[in-house]
Symmetry: C2
Subunit: 347 residues, 2 copies
């Protein structure tokens, strides 16, 4: 079983863009209009995109969430953010109902700058208990690059962590677009957010205060593996929990796109805390002239690491995801059942 733990619905039908365009032009009088998207449009948006690529690459299922950059938490206000988040999450739920063994839903949260994260608990709960979602994305900087909210170590975030623990779902730390011209969204803001979130956790007591909280740092941890010695030094200088112990409490995805980066990631973070992910149809939508493959076709970067045992690979491709996302299990079991039936039935 191969699980891609990080994909966004970047190929949404036009109806969702229309909703957002109306929402932006109606700023000041927020109204939740209907989203006109048919099941056929959803199927068409995926079958030439994510599903084709999953099939081509031998990936069984994808953990699937709304377009990250398009969430734009900085835009409008808390109600605007709530409407936009709800329609995005509802659309992911429709995807998961149409393809119950290919996609597992992860929700966006209706974050808004300066608004307490406890305001997201209602939507998180709805998504997990009513829509069958298995986790959420969490944006540490709803301002989109002005960094005006308290860091993740602040008790500001604790009501949300309490809900995550109570629902037994993880949060993947992931920025949205930046509205700050200092940053490029996928080239600097995303990566800054990943590394900054790590540091915010590292210098906090979040992991002690929430011993069962599970957080995923995306995009291979930003700079964490490369700058590991600096982080180790800071931990020693400040008498924080050791860097290695903090790494063992966090999870990292493999959305890096070279063999060397993959190797450094897994060597530093360890095989127990890395989950396979490609973020395909996302930020690196080009063919790598060095390999002839799309950059986000990154499973070969893992396959190239000859020192990974079969057991290591199984952790990275499957079992760690099941540990981090316990609500993923029935979906994986349904997928396994489908595969067995297919094999027997000779699909």
């Amino acid at each position: 079983m191969i699980i891609d733990t990080h994909g966004h619905y970047t190929t949404v039908p036009a109806g969702l863009r229309t909703f957002r365009a109306l929402q932006i032009s109606n700023l000041g009088r927020p109204k939740k209009t209907a989203v006109a998207i048919s099941d056929d449009e959803i199927r068409a948006s995926l079958e030439q995109g994510q599903i084709r690529l999953l099939d081509e690459r031998g990936i069984d299922l994808m953990i699937f969430s709304p377009m990250a950059s398009a969430m734009g938490h900085h835009f409008g206000n808390a109600l605007v953010s709530r409407h936009w988040t709800e329609v995005n999450n509802d659309l992911i739920a429709r995807v998961c109902r149409l393809y119950p063994t290919r996609f597992a839903g992860v929700c966006a949260l209706p974050q808004s700058p300066g608004v307490e994260p406890r305001a997201c608990v209602e939507e998180l709960t709805r998504c997990v208990t009513e829509l069958g979602f298995i986790g959420c994305n969490l944006n540490p900087d709803p301002s989109g690059g002005h960094w005006n909210d308290p860091p993740l170590g602040d008790t500001w975030w604790y009501p949300l962590y309490e809900a995550l623990v109570a629902l037994d779902v993880p949060a993947m730390v992931h920025a949205s677009a930046t509205c700050n011209p200092a940053f490029h969204t996928t080239g600097s803001h995303y990566l800054n957010v990943d590394s900054t979130a790590f540091m915010q956790i590292y210098e906090s007591t979040v992991l002690q205060d929430f011993p069962t909280l599970r957080l995923i740092i995306s995009h291979g941890g930003g700079n964490v593996p490369y700058q590991a010695a600096r982080y180790r030094a800071l931990g020693l200088m400040n008498k924080w929990e050791p860097f290695e112990a903090v790494l063992r409490r966090l999870y990292f995805d493999t959305t890096v796109y070279s063999v060397e980066a993959m190797e450094m990631l897994i060597r530093i973070v360890g095989v127990d805390n890395v989950m396979f992910a490609s973020e395909m149809l996302g930020g690196v939508n080009a063919i790598d002239p060095r390999t002839g493959r799309l950059f986000d076709d990154n499973k070969p970067c893992l396959d190239a690491l000859a020192w990974l045992t079969a057991g290591d690979q199984r952790k990275i491709f499957e079992t760690t995801a099941l540990r981090v996302y316990p609500r993923l299990r029935p979906i994986v079991e349904a997928r396994s059942g489908t595969e067995r039936t297919s094999a027997v039935g000779g699909e």
Copy 2:
């Protein structure tokens, strides 16, 4: 000859801290008071610190600039920043006069949020032409973590680039402290600034508009080597100058503190664009239990790379620095002369 291209005067005598304390308490009526520091105090501050470590580690000379985090460009206003910058640069000049073959001066700039970088040209010129400095540090975010100024690719910065080119000195991109609680100064802000600066340059036409401008990205480039495939993909998607070509136009220092990071840095950036640096007595002031050495004693991390030829090592330790900092040459020649004299004289 071994040149450490990145050191700050972190061990300044108390007189400088007193100046700053007065400046902070007198905010609103900026006044440039005298700095009471004797030559003996300067000697004492260095001989048990940087000079002892240079000697122990076999490093000939250090490119030396004011304390980076203490510059605090966000504090006060342009005049406060100018006074503070001047006294810091003057102190570096005194260090270089006392130890003309051990330290080469690099100045801080009197940056201030929202103030045009052209306002820094006067102090840059003074430092290079009157004090004999060989370059400057450049803070892309004078707000200290709120990122309110235009990116480095904006023409906002061009008058400063023109001055750098005219004076034939480089700028090392380096943040100061952050006043934003979202960030840790040395653990996240510094590294975010490095990577963000790279991205700002990458998506701009600065390097084409200033074909002889030389910029150094510090701290091993933040995340650049580790995330190289993402950057390559973005270049292809956006039809920018290829990543590899941009790397060949920029310089990176070796202030990373593990063999693995050193290896990745040099493999990705190439032996022609990396300069040895330790930033010693800086951000990583602890002993690495894995090696028993101070983290910033990082020359052994380079020595461990057996594939580096003697020619490669010479570039990294000496000749690239001479190319990037042409005004360093007489200092290096004086140092060589000193060494020859010492050898003959049997010091």
